[in-house]
């Protein structure tokens, strides 16, 4: 990065540290924080959408759809979320390849599952074997995002289902009395009022989501845990910057990052709750009205 970094073995300790912390691998480490933020930025809205769909399905009049929705909302209750992470990442990949295999290679006669491997025709490989490394990483990341969205969608569905049931029944009945259709009641009355009930659960979910991001490491994405593990392990003299086992310091850095992130989120979410409670027919809203008067 700097011109004086050409020969690290001749540097004094301050400059050595400066050069060490700006080496190419460290820049990759810093950019992997971006990966984590990207995951959060993409997963949060998608999971919310999944959750909304799940909660709507669970309230549906249609019995099979309702069963599906209830199953989805309750799937995360009894089973550890990490099992879903491990499961979906492989299952989604195989489902995709299997589907492509059926379309692209209808004359393929060999069995796909032999008990020891999962083998589809070369054309059905996702991404193709010839693809550049970057596409393999993008594909891995996309799978991780979808997996996160499915699991956290189930959490969100739980929260939103509870929030939808928490809207006072009288509000909906009034809307019906005005002659609104089911859809209109849902769109104009239920959804706008539901958010304030959903917010405590959703803020909790956001904090959980932040704390689940290190699991990206288990899904094979080169995230901050991967790089901390990689950079922290002791380096012999064959490396440009030899050092002992520094993993402790790297993981301490990650700990501080997560603590700061959750703390900032807590403060922002507390403000948002105040903002949304204003003028609502809830205890918090009433307390605010009295304080202002």
């Amino acid at each position: 990065m700097f011109s004086f970094c050409a020969d690290p073995s001749t540097l004094d300790s301050t400059r050595w540290m400066l050069c060490y912390l700006t080496s190419g691998k460290h820049l990759l480490f810093y950019s992997s924080f971006g990966t984590v933020l990207l995951l959060l930025a993409v997963t949060a809205p998608v999971a919310l959408a999944f959750g909304f769909g799940g909660a709507m399905a669970a309230r549906s009049q249609n019995a099979p759809l309702r069963l599906f929705g209830k199953g989805y909302t309750s799937m995360v209750r009894g089973v550890p979320d990490i099992i879903f992470f491990m499961f979906f990442v492989i299952a989604l990949d195989q489902a995709l390849e299997w589907g492509l295999h059926q379309v692209l290679c209808p004359d393929w006669t060999d069995p796909i599952r032999t008990g020891l491997e999962f083998k589809v025709c070369p054309e059905a490989k996702v991404p193709p074997n010839s693809a550049a490394q970057i596409w393999h990483e993008v594909y891995g990341f996309t799978l991780a995002v979808v997996t996160f969205a499915i699991v956290f969608g189930a959490f969100a569905a739980n929260v939103l289902y509870g929030a939808m049931s928490a809207v006072p029944r009288a509000q909906l009945e009034t809307a019906e009395a005005y002659g609104m259709s089911q859809g209109q009641v849902f769109r104009r009355v239920l959804v706008p009022q539901m958010w304030v009930y959903a917010l405590p659960g959703l803020s909790n979910l956001w904090l959980i989501l932040i704390k689940a991001t290190p699991l990206l490491f288990l899904l094979g994405v080169k995230d901050i845990v991967y790089w901390a593990n990689e950079l922290g392990s002791s380096k012999t003299d064959t490396f440009a910057y030899p050092h002992g086992d520094w993993k402790l310091w790297y993981f301490l850095g990650l700990l501080v990052f997560y603590l700061a992130f959750t703390r900032v989120s807590e403060v922002v979410l507390a403000r948002l709750t105040r903002r949304l409670s204003r003028g609502q027919a809830t205890m918090a809203g009433e307390a605010m009205r009295k304080a202002a008067a």
């Binding site: 209750r77 990490i82 499961f87 299952a91 008990g115 739980n158 689940a212 290190p214």
Partner: protein, 275 residues
């Protein structure tokens, strides 16, 4: 190999007894059920012990957090913040690195040599991290419950002349437990779920002795078929969750036995406590 022989060979494989080699090919459903069930012993071990030890530390921390003395309150607050604000996964990594850095020969303390190498093994190191983690989460629950003890109860205690430690033991503590118990049930369930992380963080599984998810991962890696082993772990954990809910609801009933039936706290399963 019949299924009974498989059970005989692998039922305690996770503890190091029975057949040494894990199955390499021709995986049967029976093998998967047996080995994954065998791994569940570790999940039970971590969960039960961390919960049992954590309960006491959590009570102490909750009390410390209500203390008027800054020097008692602040450390408790920080402890709870650090363990609740960071991912358990990172805590495992950090804990392992800390334990590795301890001197290999042990620590000399007043002429006694304390061995430290067992802390780098999962059975002790991971248990220690889980113990601190669940203590922090439970302490926050108990602290909230302590704050929610009705004022009338304390006034009644004052009127009867019950003060000091007797007031805590007979009035405050039982009420705190009663109020906090539904949330504590959830904490217990999610602690058991969190035990699956142990062998996927840095703690190594020696001689392939791992927990339920470790063996499920082994089968999924070997067969490239996630559709059998993972649902089996899921099934085991659903059973475990039902069993835990049942056990905790018995305690809940005992804590609430003096109340009229319509005022009793019900245990509701809320997935709010993943770490």
């Amino acid at each position: 190999m019949t299924c009974w022989e498989t059970i005989g060979a692998y039922a305690f494989r996770s503890l190091g007894y029975g057949e040494r080699m894990l199955p390499k090919s021709d995986f049967t459903l029976c093998q998967q059920f047996t080995l994954i069930g065998s791994g569940l012993i570790w999940n039970l071990y971590f969960g039960v012990l961390a919960l049992a030890f954590g309960f006491f530390l959590a009570n102490a921390l909750a009390l410390a957090k209500t203390s008027r003395h800054l020097w008692i309150r602040k450390p408790a607050e920080w402890f709870i913040f650090v363990f609740r604000g960071s991912p358990l996964f990172i805590q495992f990594f950090l804990g392992y690195q800390l334990f590795v850095l301890l001197p290999k020969t042990g620590i000399e303390l007043w002429g006694i040599t304390l061995q430290t190498d067992w802390l780098t093994k999962a059975w002790a190191g991971a248990l220690f991290v889980l113990f601190l983690n669940t203590a922090a989460y439970s302490a926050e629950i108990f602290y909230g419950a302590l704050m929610a003890v009705p004022k009338g109860d304390l006034e009644a205690a004052d009127a009867y002349g019950i003060t000091g430690f007797a007031r805590f033991r007979r009035i405050l503590w039982p009420t705190m437990l009663r109020l906090g118990w539904p949330a504590y049930t959830n904490e217990a369930i999610f602690l058991f779920h969190a035990t699956t992380l142990v062998f996927f963080s840095s703690f190594p599984a020696f001689k392939q002795q791992g927990d339920a998810l470790y063996y499920a991962g082994y089968f999924a890696d070997k067969t490239y078929n996630p559709f059998i082993p993972y649902p089996i772990v899921g099934f085991y954990f659903i059973c475990l969750t039902l069993l835990l809910t049942f056990g905790f609801s018995l305690v809940n009933r005992r804590l609430n036995r003096h109340l009229p039936s319509n005022q009793r706290a019900r245990i509701r399963l809320r997935p709010q406590l993943i770490r």
